[in-house]
């Protein structure tokens, strides 16, 4: 029996490792040489993921998956089609290229088709960390034990959690000479601790490309503390409250703005950023002037892919600058049609913060609610980004500058746009451990007034 493997094999084989830039480029060239289309582009993605799940104080499932995907798009004038395969034999790759060409010829014209880009000046983001890549299955279970062992010993806690470490690379190449490559690792740890009496639940999480920056023990301890603090919640009336949202809760809601920040739908009249009478709201003040919303793959807390699906380089983009809408996403087609610059599709989401600690926010609050995280957010009205959802895993009443008791969870109906106009204080931004939507997100804790809780939930 072999010892548990390292995440990244030392002897890296093309068939089941993470592809280096040279390997990815060689594979892409092999495929592009098979093309007989007017133009073609190829994505090559390789990934190894090791994960560990535990629940009810036991390890439940754990696994290791390796895969390499190739995505070929063939273009004939305004016609295009895509085929994706994970079979890398010459025979299979040729079949994929031919299939994409056959489909493209049969497909109706796409009047919005844009020509492939030529070579781009793309800078490298260093997102590969040996500390993450060298983790073994034994390392993962040792990390999980930081939550499992104290829970088992306590006799009154039940722990469940998930630890996943990835190492992968993605590359894009086309027949016009473009080549983009990004290699990254990532470690994500989340844990939920519930009290055996069923009245308390606490959650905590952390994520970073560098395993050394994920403080596993601190996350486990924080979830346990939240679980104990949240026991025996009392019901308080739903209504408008001053609310302190921890970064996870802020990210759950604020990140949604990114989904609506599209110039085209705004210009078409079906977006919250549509100006009454037509056009979009670029240049208008839309939220508190302490808020800026930014995308930046090079930010050390982010380290995401610095190019988008078209191969456009991504740098620092400021969508909201001190409360003013400065930019919306312009696709290459819409930019051309409107005479604007294509922005590239961002791969990160950053909200700037302030300097007020959560403790200080609590101290300055005569009566309010502290929220750990939000759950099951769903659009209710796209005209205002009105969402509904619930609080979860640690909701507390603040009275006279102190946490006075755990309270039952609330359902809210509110919009991040409304909320960021009702801002009282901002804290230091933190990297989130994965919102419902996913992706690299950095946001601060905030304090807002008049947050709209519409009903109570009995859920713990």
């Amino acid at each position: 029996m072999s010892a548990p493997k390292r995440l990244i094999r030392v002897e890296q084989a093309l068939e089941d490792g993470v592809l280096s830039s040279a390997d990815a480029q060689a594979l892409a060239s092999r495929i592009l040489k098979m093309s007989t289309a007017d133009s073609a582009d190829v994505f090559v993605n390789s990934n190894i993921a090791n994960n560990l799940r535990f629940a009810a104080n036991q390890v439940s499932t754990a696994g290791s998956v390796t895969d390499i995907n190739v995505q070929v798009t063939s273009n004939f004038g305004p016609k295009h089609a895509t085929v994706v395969t994970n079979n890398l034999t010459d025979e299979a790759l040729l079949a994929a290229v031919k299939q994409s060409e056959t489909l493209a010829k049969l497909a109706p014209d796409d009047p919005e088709a844009m020509p492939d880009l030529g070579p781009q000046d793309i800078k490298t983001v260093s997102a590969w960390f040996p500390s993450t890549a060298n983790l073994s299955a034994a390392d993962l279970i040792q990390a999980g034990l930081t939550a499992l062992t104290p829970s088992r010993k306590s006799g009154d806690l039940a722990t469940s959690g998930y630890l996943v470490v990835n190492a992968g690379s993605s590359a894009l190449a086309n027949t016009k000479g473009l080549f983009a490559y990004h290699r990254s690792t990532n470690a994500n740890y989340t844990v939920t601790v519930r009290t055996s009496d069923g009245t308390g639940s606490g959650w905590a999480g952390a994520e970073h490309p560098d395993w050394n920056q994920v403080n596993i023990g601190e996350v486990s301890a924080r979830a346990i503390e939240k679980a104990r603090l949240s026991r025996n919640p009392v019901a308080i009336e739903p209504g408008r409250y001053t609310v302190i949202l921890e970064p996870q809760a802020v990210g759950d809601l604020v990140q949604l703005i990114g989904n609506y920040a599209d110039a085209r739908s705004s210009d078409e009249g079906r977006s919250p950023f549509t100006k009454p009478g037509g056009g979009n709201k670029i240049g208008e003040k839309i939220m508190d002037d302490r808020v800026s919303l930014i995308a930046d793959p090079f930010d050390p807390m982010i380290l995401s892919q610095p190019w988008d699906g078209d191969g456009l380089p991504l740098g620092r983009q400021v969508f909201v600058d001190k409360g003013v809408l400065r930019e919306l996403y312009y696709s290459r087609f819409w930019a051309k049609k409107q005479g604007k610059q294509a922005t590239g599709a961002p791969t990160s989401f950053i909200m700037t913060g302030g300097t007020t600690s959560v403790d200080d926010m609590i101290k300055s609050t005569p009566r309010g609610v502290l929220v750990t995280r939000l759950w099951y957010l769903r659009e209710v009205d796209p005209r205002t980004i009105l969402y509904t959802g619930l609080t979860r895993d640690g909701t507390f009443l603040i009275e006279n500058g102190k946490i006075s008791k755990a309270v039952k969870n609330f359902r809210f109906n509110d919009s991040p746009l409304f909320m960021l106009n009702n801002l009282e204080a901002l804290g230091r931004p933190a990297r989130l451990a994965g919102t419902e939507q996913g992706g690299a997100v950095v946001v601060p804790p905030i304090k807002v007034k008049d947050f709209n809780f519409t009903s109570l939930s009995d859920a713990v």
């Binding site: 390890v59 696994g63 299979a92 497909a107 519930r194 769903r378």
Partner: protein, 541 residues
């Protein structure tokens, strides 16, 4: 996180797909649709030999039990908007996943390399992971009995394989339907698509089963948006056709071209509909809406792994817990309420011949005469309810709810088709409206959100009608209802009969870590709920 999902997001494929279809429960499980490859799997005898190699390797490495799935997962998509094509793609992904049980602890290894060396390495990796994790398990996993099927095959219910329909024919159908919708004054945008799924699933286990199955499913996302002339409002009518475990014939039966004008009229009417007054109303919920309420408030809380805390860190737990205080005791709804789990239902999305543990699924009543009667189970979980099955004189066996969404994900408990059975009296949606004095009828599923124990939910819809004196007197908008699950179902006082039964469903029910999707159908009849809290969602600040 650097995952396949991110890659596909970057490549733009999921963006088109997400724009066209909603997803159910945690996050954008839709990304899982976009899977990947382009060449056939090895021939059947090679697959069989590879599977036997994998489980033999697992056994000799120390596994007490092992199963292997070698699968080919194909998707074909065509997306359009207005009178143009947006995306055409074929996705094909092949690989092997090996699960092992070593000293009562699970391990899983998966590889795309379909060679003897590839699957044996995955099997050994699975065993190594199980051994490493033994330290964190003090209650060994035990599997309930299963029959061996040494040479089984199964094919889902379709007459025309949708993958045989040329892409131009699919695009032509969508563009014609889009054109019909665009003829209606006020309609500005149409997003439509055809999503086809075909899965060749091969399974073998150390219990002696070797099973080959072929599954086909189709979904038809279709969204029509009307914009007011002064750009002050926009309204969308979507979710018009349910997905199904059927073929191209199902697509044709929907008569997209014939119906598009009607759906478009509804989108335009929503612009001028009256904004609802908040308050309590009797709700008449059409099956095209009620399936989703069943999904969220009955099907999820009766997943046994949720009820026992196994999903606490993500999808959540359940108020239908602990089982010993619920089974035979908890009144979920009225006497005439019967909820059935069933992966044998022809044409439904979760239907299968054998599940991902080689279990032949059965029909079972989750709610019987209004009382909790059973949970959704796998082989590991069925044993946890042995005391209950013994007390009922029923055998302890899995209901066949084990499922993985790919060769590269580990199988676990997923939802079967879970349906509200028809009432004895043959009455229709219209009959129930006629019997209602003051209420709101809701057609189609819209916004949905429910807490992690499935108590407190809020549902929107697609089209809302005001009922007065047994008649529909006009359309409403900005409607959502908030409810507490047991109170809601106990307020149900009328349900439709057999002729009013329809299937709804989703391709994208999300659960698990890493997140997996599951396709599921829910049968429903129209039903009335008394005195439900309705809110107005049309806030401006």
């Amino acid at each position: 996180m650097k995952t396949r999902r991110d890659f596909l997001k970057q490549s733009g494929l999921t963006a088109a797909a997400i724009a066209a279809v909603g997803t159910l429960s945690p996050a954008s499980a839709m990304a899982g649709l976009i899977r990947t490859a382009a060449v056939e799997m090895p021939p059947d005898d090679v697959v069989r030999a590879l599977m036997l190699d994998a489980i033999t390797a697992a056994k000799s490495a120390g596994a007490s039990y092992s199963d292997v799935r070698i699968g080919r997962y194909r998707n074909s998509i065509v997306f359009t908007r207005e009178q143009q094509i947006v995306q055409t793609a074929d996705l094909d992904n092949v690989g092997a996943g090996v699960r092992t049980l070593v000293d009562g602890t699970w391990g899983f290894g998966a590889t795309k390399t379909l060679t003897r060396d590839g699957v044996v390495a995955a099997a050994r990796e699975a065993v190594a992971i199980a051994k490493a994790n033994r330290i964190a398990r003090d209650q060994p996993v035990q599997l309930s009995p299963v029959q061996a099927y040494p040479n089984a095959t199964w094919k889902s219910s379709f007459t025309t394989d949708p993958f045989t329909i040329p892409v131009e024919q699919r695009a032509d159908l969508l563009l014609k339907a889009n054109a019909e919708a665009l003829k209606v004054k006020g309609v500005r945008f149409v997003n439509s698509g055809l999503l086809f799924v075909k899965e060749d699933r091969n399974f073998a286990s150390t219990e002696g089963s070797v099973i080959a199955q072929t599954i086909v499913r189709v979904a038809i996302p279709f969204a029509i948006t009307a914009v007011s002339a002064d750009f002050s409002d926009f309204q969308t009518r979507t979710n018009v056709v349910a997905p199904a475990g059927r073929g191209w014939e199902y697509v044709l039966e929907q008569d997209l071209v014939g119906n598009a004008g009607k759906w478009a009229e509804e989108a335009v009417q929503k612009l001028s509909a009256k904004s609802v007054e908040v308050g309590r109303y009797d709700l008449v919920l059409h099956p095209t809406h009620l399936w989703l309420t069943i999904h969220e408030s009955i099907a999820h809380p009766t997943e046994l792994d949720r009820a026992l805390g196994y999903e606490a860190n993500y999808a959540g737990t359940s108020f239908v817990s602990p089982p010993e205080k619920m089974l035979g005791k908890l009144r979920y709804g009225p006497e005439f309420m019967n909820i059935q789990g069933d992966r044998t239902q022809e044409g439904a999305c979760a239907t299968i011949g054998y599940d991902d543990e080689g279990v032949k699924p059965d029909q079972f009543l989750i709610i019987k005469n209004g009382i909790v009667n059973d949970y959704q189970t796998t082989r590991e979980q069925a044993n946890w309810l042995k005391w209950w099955y013994d007390s009922q004189g029923r055998p302890t066996r899995s209901h066949g709810c084990s499922n993985a969404d790919s060769w590269g994900t580990v199988q676990f408990q997923r939802m079967p088709n879970v349906s509200l059975l028809p009432g004895e009296k043959e009455q229709s949606y219209e009959d129930i409206i006629a019997a209602t004095d003051r209420g709101i009828a809701i057609v189609g599923d819209g916004s949905f959100s429910i807490d992690q124990q499935r108590y407190n939910a809020q549902f929107g819809g697609q089209v809302f009608y005001e009922i007065k004196g047994g008649k529909i007197i006009g359309m409403l908008k900005d409607v959502a209802y908030q409810m507490r699950t047991p109170d809601f179902w106990n307020s149900m006082d009328m349900i439709g009969g057999r002729k009013s039964y329809e299937l709804g469903g989703s391709f994208f029910d999300g659960k698990g870590q890493p997140p997996q999707i599951n396709a599921v159908s829910h049968g429903a009849v129209p039903a009335r709920f008394r005195n439900i809290n309705v809110i107005n969602t049309g806030r401006k600040a």
